[in-house]
Each structure stands twice: as structure tokens, then as C-alpha cells.
């Protein structure tokens, strides 16, 4: 595995920030609810529930 340069490492770290999926899934769930897309809203809520257990693995 080649050594990452410092900016690439920072970018990778930023893109894999643990709170980022919460923000993205929240946006998806709330937007789906507002648009009356019930199944998509429930799916986003499901993904949030799964992600809430991140510390277990």
C-alpha cells in the first residue's frame, strides 16, 4: 500500500468522518418525509438505526 500524502490523508479522513453519514441520512429521512416518500423515509430511519450501533464492531 503506497504511503498517502498528507493532503490525501486529510481528505480521506474528512470523507470518512463518523458523523458524516448521520448528517446525510438525516437529510434523506427528513426530505423523504417532507415529500411524502414513506418507504424511503423508513429506509433512511432504518439505516440510521443500524448506524447508531457503529461502536459495536
Amino acid at each position: 500500500m503506497p504511503q498517502l500524502t498528507a493532503p490525501a490523508g486529510r481528505l480521506r479522513r474528512g470523507l470518512t468522518e463518523p458523523l458524516l453519514p448521520v448528517a446525510a441520512l438525516t437529510l434523506l429521512a427528513v426530505t423523504a418525509a417532507a415529500l411524502d416518500a414513506a418507504v424511503l423515509c423508513w429506509a433512511a430511519v432504518g439505516a440510521l438505526a443500524g448506524y447508531a450501533l457503529s461502536g459495536s464492531v
Binding site: 500500500m1 423508513w42 430511519v45 432504518g46 447508531a52
Partner: protein, 191 residues
């Protein structure tokens, strides 16, 4: 630890992650199927009452994560044995993911999965929608492992541990906001 001894190990970590994710998806789908079967018991209740109950449960989940109420969680207080991963890597990883994906074979330390389970029971959705939500739960659970794999950062586990209280609180609050908006009085989205 799924990726022990780390991303530098000679084993194909991407394959381990794929099998683990498949197990999580299958486990989530199985639990959702059970929830769908049981949700028929809630069907006779008026949809407005079921919608209100779902929002109340979501509010209690959020209140619990913010420390406003103390509600013990009825979890299976055991760990999946580590030797599951040591006998046969692929089969063991699939079993490990499946057991985690069901959400009933080990610790469940956050409120949101309980809100989701009760929400599925009370909303009595169609089988396809329920199974999709179960798969989404498995995918959400796989997301952190996937990000750990992609991050290639030995310090990421510590970063996740540091943010776990925020993650739990934010997911519970987001769940409440989304479900309250979806099931607001007058919308009648439970049929």
C-alpha cells in the same frame, strides 16, 4: 474486531467486508420479516393511534439518549463468540454479520433500533417495504465497517468511540424529526 490485525493484513479485507455486509443485510431482512408478521396484530388499531404511538416511542428514544429519562433496554446481554471468526473466515464472517444484523443476538446499546422495531410493528407496512427497511438497517450497520476499511486510518476506531454519544443522540433526534414529519396529524400515511 472485524479487520484485525488491521488494513495492512495480507488477507483480502474487501472480501471480508463484502461477506460481512451480506450477513448484515440477511440478518436485517430476517428481523424485518418477523416484525412484518407480528405487525398484523397492530393492524386493527386506528391508524391515527398507531401513528401517535410511533411518534411517542421515537420521542422517548430521543429523550433517553439525551439523558432525560432512564429506560432500560431489553437487550441480549452477550457477545457473539470471537471463535466464530477464527474457524472458517468466510462462513464465520457471514455468521457474525448475520447475528449482528438480526439485532437480537448481542448488545444493542442505542435507542434507535428499538424505535425502528416498534415503528415497523405499529406501522404495519407491506412486506416489500418492511424487508427493504430491514436491509437498510443492515446496510446502516455495515456503513461504519465500510468507512473504517476505506479510511485506512489506525486512529479511526478511537474517533468512532469518541463520537458514539453524538451519533446515538443525533440518530435518535433525526428519527424523531423524520417520523413526526411523516406521521403528522392529518396525513394518514399508515393507511
Amino acid at each position: 474486531m472485524l479487520f484485525s490485525p488491521g488494513w495492512r493484513a495480507p488477507v483480502r479485507q474487501g472480501e471480508v467486508l463484502a461477506v460481512f455486509t451480506l450477513g448484515l443485510l440477511l440478518g436485517g431482512v430476517l428481523s424485518a420479516a418477523v416484525a412484518w408478521l407480528l405487525s398484523g396484530l397492530a393492524a386493527p388499531l386506528p391508524s391515527s393511534a398507531r401513528a401517535m404511538a410511533i411518534v411517542v416511542v421515537a420521542a422517548l428514544g430521543a429523550a433517553r439518549e439525551f439523558g432525560l429519562v432512564r429506560i432500560p433496554l431489553p437487550q441480549n446481554a452477550r457477545q457473539i463468540p470471537q471463535d466464530v471468526l477464527q474457524i472458517r473466515l468466510r462462513r464465520g464472517t457471514l455468521q457474525f454479520g448475520f447475528e449482528l444484523g438480526t439485532g437480537v443476538r448481542t448488545y444493542v446499546s442505542a435507542s434507535s433500533p428499538y424505535v425502528l422495531a416498534l415503528g415497523l410493528l405499529l406501522s404495519h407496512q407491506g412486506p416489500a417495504a418492511s424487508l427493504l427497511v430491514g436491509a437498510a438497517f443492515g446496510a446502516g450497520r455495515a456503513l461504519s465497517a465500510a468507512l473504517t476499511y476505506l479510511a485506512r486510518d489506525p486512529a479511526r476506531d478511537a474517533a468512532v468511540s469518541l463520537r458514539m454519544p453524538w451519533i446515538k443522540s443525533a440518530t435518535a433526534l433525526s428519527t424523531l424529526a423524520a417520523l413526526a414529519l411523516l406521521l403528522a396529524p392529518g396525513t394518514d400515511r399508515l393507511g
